[in-house]
């Protein structure tokens, strides 16, 4: 059902439960080592990277912007966490035989055709909108969906519901036809 090439993926319940254990261990370890509890999140790293890039292209503008100054964007732990996600995924994909160069995902191909340019533009525009929303919501599916919900945060729970609601509206509009063809 998920394409011809089946990778040896783990049971998602097991992988998820282990990620939950990792979040617990990490909360404990960061409190012990850093004196404050750090929870999984990924938007702050993007904000930091965006500030560095903008500083290169248009020097002097970044300091004036309040949104770049928020405390979490200076968080080294979060920046390294996101770098680690890349390395961990790379290691897992290479050792598990799942590494694959892909310019157009199968489901996108089925709906929008084989054009890599089209997918790249779509991915870019989707990324712009998604990150603008994530910044407004002050978090992403990792920060709200995992860390927020684990702490039973009302904002975390409500935002996660909105993430999926917005996603369902657009995804069902785009891919509903496939549902009937299957």
């Amino acid at each position: 059902m998920n394409g011809k090439k089946r990778d040896r993926k783990w049971n998602p319940y097991l992988a998820g439960a282990l990620a939950g254990l990792l979040a617990i261990g990490s909360a404990y370890a960061t409190t012990k080592v850093m004196g404050r509890t750090a929870y999984f999140a990924s938007t702050a790293a993007y904000v930091r990277a965006a500030a560095v890039i903008e500083q290169r292209i248009l020097p002097g503008r970044v300091e004036k912007k309040e949104a770049f100054k928020k405390a979490k964007t200076k968080d080294d732990w979060q920046l390294m966490l996101v770098c680690g996600i890349f390395l961990g995924a790379l290691a897992a994909a290479l050792t598990g035989g799942a590494f694959e160069w892909e310019g157009v995902p199968p489901m996108w191909h089925k709906r929008f055709g084989p054009s890599e340019v089209k997918r790249s533009i779509g991915g870019f525009l989707g990324g712009v909108v998604a990150m603008f929303g994530a910044r407004l919501a002050d978090g992403c599916p990792v920060g709200h969906g995992l860390s927020g919900v684990m702490q039973l945060s009302v904002a975390g729970l409500a935002t996660t519901v909105c993430f999926f609601a917005g996603g369902l509206m657009v995804a069902s509009g785009l891919h509903m036809k496939d549902n009937f063809n299957d």
Binding site: A50, L81, C83, A89, S147, M169
Partner: protein, 175 residues
């Protein structure tokens, strides 16, 4: 340096689990949004079910501090829906886009580039948003047990209940 190393090691383990869990694919993320492949939902629910128990125990032992965001209605609804809409097209979220790139899905590079632009655009728009959308209603930082005046364990039990029902539905539907 300890902080950086701790972050990196945690990220590597997390990225490893995300890849092994199979949630770094466009098809699995959009699949969850179209109810065709619920791998992502299974992964996320399992993580929060386990995580909530451990974090509650640690909180009761005074071993961790709470850190989550304020319940701002404008931010949650407008930001949440906007994120979801972009997510459905991009097919990757900020964390998984980085992981997807590690898996060789090079189209994730464009998603990441878009997200960097989105972060910069938000900084441009922030002064306006601060006096409009973000002023709608702010209830401050709040947890579900505080809101409902219930025991945290009862809320965790409810979370498990919703999770288990979702799992049963997924397995029944074979998605």
């Amino acid at each position: 340096m300890t902080e950086q190393i701790l972050g990196l090691v945690t990220g590597i383990l997390f990225g490893f689990l995300l890849q092994k869990g199979g949630v770094l694919r466009f098809d699995r993320q959009v699949g969850a949004l179209t109810f065709k492949d619920m791998t992502l939902v299974k992964f996320m629910f399992s993580a929060v079910m386990v995580g909530s128990v451990g974090l509650q125990l640690l909180a009761e032992a005074g071993a961790v501090t709470v850190s989550h965001t304020a319940m701002n209605v404008g931010a949650t609804v407008a930001g949440g829906l906007l994120f979801g809409m972009g997510w459905a097209v991009a097919g990757l979220c900020p964390g998984t886009a980085v992981g997807a790139l590690g898996e060789g899905r090079w189209h994730a590079l464009f998603v990441i580039a878009g997200m960097l632009v989105g972060a910069a655009l938000y900084a441009e728009a922030y002064p306006t948003l601060k006096i409009t959308v973000l002023t709608w209603k702010d209830y401050g930082r709040m947890t579900l047990p505080q809101l409902l005046k219930l025991s945290p364990w009862l809320c965790i039990a409810a979370l498990w209940g919703v999770g288990i029902v979702t799992f049963v539905w997924c397995e029944f539907k074979r998605v």
